[in-house]
């Protein structure tokens, strides 16, 4: 789950990381009321879960309250790469201006199996670009999760990126706080870009990005409340509630598969054979009849779907359970969309008998199933 910038920065503040004063607004009037507190000297920023806001016109500086209102007017409703802006953050400009910008982040290094803190003097830039063009300008330390972040690591980063010595103590505290925030929040990324030195000589996080591990939500109730499901399509919200992994795509062949790898593969093979998948749907391990029924209802709620490919290879998931779910769902759903079914693995034989009794078409292999689904979708 990704936090909005304002949520990320408020989380930073809870861990003692300085952030600008400000608040979020959903209307130009609200934005002006906030700007008034800062004499109109604010930055108005689109709150969307996507990068590249500045280039898209989603971040604008204001000198007066009226200007802040105009900017909010322009940004609210703005479409940034398919993400509609419903909210803006109105932040006071950094006191005394911005002297210098840095990049600072903690993330999980999958290769090293450790959290890693990265810092660079190339703040405000696209860090992937910096990593590609001038990797020597990025300084990295790996953190042993049993030991935690140590001050010598902060010193290495600070000296590497050329931070003035007078700020090392402040930087040490800030990095240590950021690491605590990362671990305590079950984050997979906590990024400050840019981290600035204000005209008053203070370090401040003027932008923030935080991603939280979905598997840890059960122990992060405060963060779970921050999730904004309203931005996902209705079908994806419903799938999430049912515990299904679902992603809406643009094609016309609905897919219901167990297991993420096989679900991706089923999409790939449909595309390879000349069809277009309508979705990614992993019903997960141990899917029961009720779950299968919900999955089918979600797939069929998309009017573009002209055929459904159901590919279940039983391990934890039992073929007979899935077959019962399909038969039960089809009794309740009034549809003439053709279904192509394939069952194999645990209890597949029992499942196939249930499907045969219900006169449902089956396929033996995945390529056979994909070919039949593509044919069926053509009508």
């Amino acid at each position: 789950m990704n936090l909005y910038e304002y949520q990320a920065k408020r989380l930073f503040a809870e861990y003692g990381i300085p952030i600008p004063s400000g608040d979020v607004a959903r209307t130009p009037e609200e934005a002006m009321a906030i700007a008034e507190k800062y004499d109109g000297k604010v930055v108005v920023k689109s709150q969307v879960h996507i990068g590249g806001r500045g280039k898209a016109g989603g971040v604008k500086l204001a000198k007066t309250v009226a200007e802040a209102g105009e900017h909010a007017e322009a940004i609210i409703g703005l479409d940034i790469k398919g993400h509609i802006t419903h909210m803006v953050l109105v932040d006071q400009l950094a006191p005394g201006g911005i002297e210098k910008e840095f990049y600072l982040a903690v993330l999980i290094d999958r290769a090293e199996k450790k959290p890693m803190m990265m810092a660079s003097a190339e703040g405000g830039m696209d860090i992937e670009q910096v990593a590609h063009d001038t990797p020597e300008k990025i300084f990295k330390v790996h953190i042993d999760p049993a030991v935690g972040f140590k001050m010598h690591q902060a010193t290495y980063l600070a000296s590497g990126m050329g931070l003035d010595k007078s700020l090392w103590k402040q930087f040490g505290k800030l990095t240590s706080n950021l690491y605590n925030c990362f671990v305590s929040s079950d984050a997979s990324l906590a990024e400050i870009n840019p981290l600035v030195i204000t005209g008053e000589g203070e370090l401040m996080a003027v932008d923030g990005k935080v991603s939280i591990d979905d598997s840890a939500m059960y122990r992060q109730p405060k963060l779970a409340e921050m999730a904004d499901d309203s931005i996902a399509p209705e079908s994806e919200q419903r799938a999430k509630e049912a515990g299904l992994s679902f992603i809406q795509l643009d094609g016309n062949i609905g897919c219901m598969v167990n297991g993420a790898g096989l679900a991706m593969t089923s999409m790939d093979i449909i595309k390879l054979f000349g069809g277009e998948p309508a979705n990614f749907l992993d019903i997960g391990g141990g899917a029961n009849a009720a779950k299968v029924q919900t999955a089918l209802e979600i797939i069929l709620s998309d009017p573009k779907v002209k055929a459904v490919l159901i590919n279940i290879f039983g391990g934890i998931t039992r073929g007979d359970e899935v077959a019962k779910g399909i038969v039960g769902a089809l009794e309740k759903i009034d549809t003439d969309v053709p279904m192509i079914l394939r069952l194999a693995g645990t209890n597949a034989k029992e499942g196939l008998e249930i499907l045969a009794d219900a006169n449902l078409p089956t396929a033996e292999t995945l390529s056979d199933a994909a070919t039949k689904a593509i044919e069926a979708a053509k009508g």
Partner: protein
């Protein structure tokens, strides 16, 4: 021969008395796996499927000589279960549980590395040495003994390919599902190395998916260290960027982690790359 599990495996099942634990323990016993004990805290002294249940893994190791542990414990207790197995002295731990928080797995991985214990998973289907031993949930009826070593990030995709192999008369030495979590135990390179050293294994199948760079690293390893023919398939060529495709680790971010990039790296290492799972078998038959 085979790798990791065989007739000498003495298995303890952590979480055996739960519904999934019972269902799959029964399948494993049917297959001939030597389950020596189950562990469920608070149920010590009971029996399940005619096997003794202990409160701790330590007792199962001391009383029954368990050398391998299989974990079916719910996600919020699973990391603790792995620590317990590692401390109890089993040599090999297989964790089926999905949705273990990454922060927990970071601690687990760094701990077991120092201990020198091997972990497979989490969020994996386990492994099977056809005709000898099944540890986990890979269906026993789709495998058959033979010369092909299979290693995969995905559970059901593994079944798909193994099914296709068996269907066309090609048996397997061992099939290993390493799981698709961002932080896990045994990786492609570990298994490739074991297959290279295994006499029974003549060819290797590697199945990866989008996200991370495990496949690229495996490709580099194959180029320098693997003499046996390798055939590969990468799932997720059609996945949209920035969306996690079911497995926490399966996400294309920017230009990194794409199926195309992985396929190119594998081809450059002399690996035959299939476009869909059934084609793997065609490529092996040549």
């Amino acid at each position: 021969m085979s790798i990791l599990v065989n007739k000498d495996t003495r298995l303890v099942v952590q979480g055996m008395t739960g519904s999934q634990g019972m269902f799959h323990s029964e399948r494993m016993l049917e297959y001939g796996t030597n389950i020596v004990a189950g562990v469920t805290p608070g149920k010590g002294g009971a029996t399940a499927l005619e096997k003794p249940i202990y409160n701790t893994v330590r007792e199962a190791v001391e009383q029954e000589g368990a050398n391998t542990s299989l974990i079916y414990v719910p996600a919020r207790f699973a990391a603790d279960a792995i620590f317990e197995a590692a401390d109890a002295g089993v040599e090999f731990i297989v964790c089926i549980t999905e949705h273990i928080p990454v922060m927990d797995m970071l601690k687990v991985r760094n701990y077991i590395d120092k201990k020198g214990v091997r972990l497979l998973g989490p969020n994996c289907p386990g492994l099977i040495t056809p005709g000898e031993c099944k540890v986990g949930i890979i269906p026993g009826n789709i495998v058959t003994p033979g010369p092909i070593g299979v290693v995969s990030k995905s559970g059901t995709l593994t079944y798909e390919v193994v099914f296709a192999l068996t269907y066309r008369g090609m048996g397997q030495s061992t099939c290993v599902g390493i799981g698709g979590d961002p932080i896990n135990g045994t990786n492609f390179i570990d298994v490739l190395q074991l297959f290279e050293e295994d006499d029974q294994t003549e060819q290797i199948i590697l199945m990866g998916e989008i996200g991370g760079n495990d496949e690229e690293k495996a490709a580099a390893y194959i180029k320098d260290h693997i003499s046996k023919p390798v055939t590969a398939f990468i799932a997720g060529a059609t996945a949209p960027p920035g969306r996690t495709m079911g497995h926490a680790g399966a996400i294309v971010e920017g230009d990194s982690g794409t199926a195309e990039g992985k396929n190119e790296a594998l081809r450059a290492a002399g690996v035959k790359v299939a476009r869909h799972p059934e084609e793997i078998v065609d490529l092996i038959l040549g």
